[in-house]
Symmetry: D2
Subunit: 278 residues, 4 copies
């Protein structure tokens, strides 16, 4: 559908993940590249929160120095109950990747925005609940419930990465930290209005509450501490889409970046403990 829309001269705004297979993602990115006048955008909404944008700005301005390491997780528990019924989500053909496709891709979208391109991936996956009940009896789960990875970035920095859909008690734990030579930044989407920053000359970590000094907050509220919401991320995303269509800067991620994300999570899915250079 996306390719047909592009060929029909339309802009395309897609939810994530971009495609069920890496081949489809590649094909979509090719068609998008062949239609440069049309805007493509992917719904990686967590890139739009003021706190995340502020974190990226800190990194870009060099405020934490050279980047040394990234550590990130995205955990939820919506598949933790073994009695949860089998569904299409559990299939490779219709669901595609599991935790990586649903959750991990979000973490990758933030990670590459903060750290730059990934050079090498080594990963393991796990199916914690191999069979799930269905009206026809137990059926096999085909995609991963969790994944863990080691990463090397093109910059030389290191990364550790984990995602799970069976992490009891976690609801939207998209949590990461960036280690720089001059400071550290920490974030957890479950408290998406807090950014924790430490700089070399400071006593400890400082809690920055989301406020009008962070990107895109002031349009929603003039006062700090008045929480930005999950859904408002989507409002910013739509604004960015419209701005790009009207000739403004494209803030991404477009299909090219989407393909970069898919390449990383599919490498994690097939690594089985071996290093894969990207």
């Amino acid at each position: 559908m996306a390719q047909a829309a592009l060929r029909a001269g339309k802009h395309v705004w897609l939810e994530k993940p971009m495609a069920l297979t890496l081949a489809d993602a590649q094909s979509m990115a090719d068609v998008a590249a062949a239609h440069p006048a049309q805007v493509t955008m992917l719904g990686y909404n967590y890139l739009r929160s003021p706190a995340f944008q502020a974190a990226r700005a800190l990194v870009t301005r060099g405020e934490i120095g050279d980047l040394l390491a990234f550590r990130g997780v995205y955990d939820e528990d919506y598949c933790a109950d073994p009695d949860l019924a089998w569904s299409w989500r559990a299939t490779l053909a219709q669901g595609g990747l599991g935790a990586l496709g649903d959750l991990g891709c979000h973490l990758v979208s933030q990670m590459i925005a903060l750290m730059g391109p990934v050079a090498e991936v080594t990963a393991q996956t796990q199916i914690a609940v191999p069979m799930r009940p269905s009206p026809e009896g137990p059926k096999a789960v085909e995609n991963e419930d969790s994944a863990m990875a080691l990463l090397r970035f093109a910059s030389g920095a290191q990364g550790s990465f984990a995602t799970s859909r069976v992490a009891r008690g976690r609801k939207c734990r998209l949590q990461w930290e960036v280690h720089g030579s001059l400071g550290t930044i920490c974030f957890d989407q479950e408290n998406m209005n807090e950014l924790w920053v430490h700089r070399a000359n400071e006593a400890g970590f400082t809690r920055h509450l989301t406020g009008p000094e962070q990107p895109d907050f002031a349009a929603f509220c003039p006062a700090a501490g008045h929480n930005f919401g999950f859904n408002e991320q989507k409002v910013v995303e739509a604004r960015d889409l419209v701005a790009a269509i009207h000739g403004g800067a494209h803030k991404g991620p477009d299909f090219a970046t989407g393909l970069e994300i898919e390449t990383i999570i599919h490498a994690m899915a097939r690594s089985n403990g071996a290093a894969i250079r990207l």
Copy 2:
């Protein structure tokens, strides 16, 4: 305007505080009482957050037993800078009460929803920055920068109450705890998606993330941990207003409750350390 609208047969939705003077609030409540077919509602938006509604439900269902005590603060720092220019906000005639009128009334709205009516108030106020710069030279601040109060509720429970607009580093610290004979509930609006609950038979405080099991969340998002936002409180408020107009239950606060809130904050403002029975 509100009274004219009521007399003209209109429903009235007003921001808080209800009026600059207690006499005006009384008059407005009287007019509203004389027009029972029309809906009045006040914009105490913090009553609408899913976490607050869940807290009230816990109290109402008796899950923390008999209520013993309330402890609450609402602090911000928007007047902490002594170089902030004098404005109409600093006047009794145009700004009305200070921290009590802007912030404290919100805390009262939640407090009486949780604890029931207040029987007695003893309070102190303080003007931390007595003079502020203006183009004509320094001018006097007429209303309080902060207030503290002791309360007795009609139920016999105790209360401590504080509000400040000069509390350095606080942005939306509407924070309270309710002590019951069987448990304790804690909340802080700066982390409005967390409710902390302890029950007698539990090991400690449990962090409840806002989710679809809390009132009014599911209409915004199907998954817990995906943060509800400050502005979405206002959406719920508008929905409640429309529902009341269309004959549904009035979830309050109407002008009668608004008058109750005004009575309490004006008692705090004039107490000067003496107990005032309400």
Copy 3:
């Protein structure tokens, strides 16, 4: 015993509270004053934690400017269970004051060290569990389970104060914040190795982990973040006692300060809502 020891030429180190009655405390302070060569010290151990000492140093050095307000609580739940047996602790004759004598006095010891002398007290008390079981049947509890107070300090600053021994889920919640014209300091003994500080020019509150730059920590451990313990407070107290006996500076609190603390908590106990000038 303390008076006899002083008269016998001994130094005296006493646990808190100093005495069961204010008259006894007065008498003890008088005897101590008559024996100035002998050291008296009271076991207000929470004054000795590195984090508290660091907080006091920040205040003393003027780093948060002029003091505006104090807000403090000390809550535990050891009497929350109504089936807890009646004991001597519940009597005025043998237990003395209730929550004020056991917990509140600790909070006062920190409060006056931070804020200076108290000028006026207005308080309420509450007995949440009026009767407790005993082998001879239910017996009356004579002293308060909780107390709340408003305070004016000699400096003109305001204070709010609360203590409870029936606060479900609280174990050692000696928690306070000091509001200054240039900053705010927050502390909670349940996380006694954290001090939260905000200064006017900073983005938010910074978490200071206890470390060797805080008073008296380096003698226990050379590295920050390696937690100081409750019992180690007592080690510092003993060291301070020995130092005072050997002619070093007396870091307090001696019997004179103990009497100041007793005066405040007994004023709270008898206020019954009326202002008491000290």
Copy 4:
């Protein structure tokens, strides 16, 4: 020295890491095995905190079900400053491993106590500050500033592991979580008196404050919330040593377990991205 002491019939209590090289650790374990009547113990003090022991007991009793995953870090920042002088610690011959030998081994000690034996390790290391100043000019740092690893446990569970001595703002961040099929446990040594537990039937994570219901706390204090300290871990360790010498159960870790820890960190040090089966 340790081997000579064992041969001389002495019990041996050693600080960690056990040895500079894996060969030495092997030799020490061999000598210890040849002297089974003598007690050996290693100073992995973090195993002794009441919160850690409580966590291990929860796991052992099956309260979080089958173990799925471990995620742990141990970060400090004592080498983050590039101007810190070169010292023997930076050499393989005298300092041995870097972050792995100083910090990572502690995390391994807790990890295997919680998760059981490690079957496979894949790791990367990094030297963030390759040269450090010395009186003779800049000298090379030979051992790693940080390491990250993927792990497979013998049980089939997964693990992610990271340690750094250049993590700005971290002081004693020995932090981990254990994911089970029925619950999750989280811990951070910087708040060593808190254990966070979620069980399948609960609303969220509950904060368990260290108290007398946790192992070895009651001997130090009768009341929960009165913080256990870093140094008191060492007191428990010494008590365990003496108990083992006097014929009580050996709570470990002895030289055999020490060798297991060394085997893991040395595998991490030499992996260079390749999987190593243990």
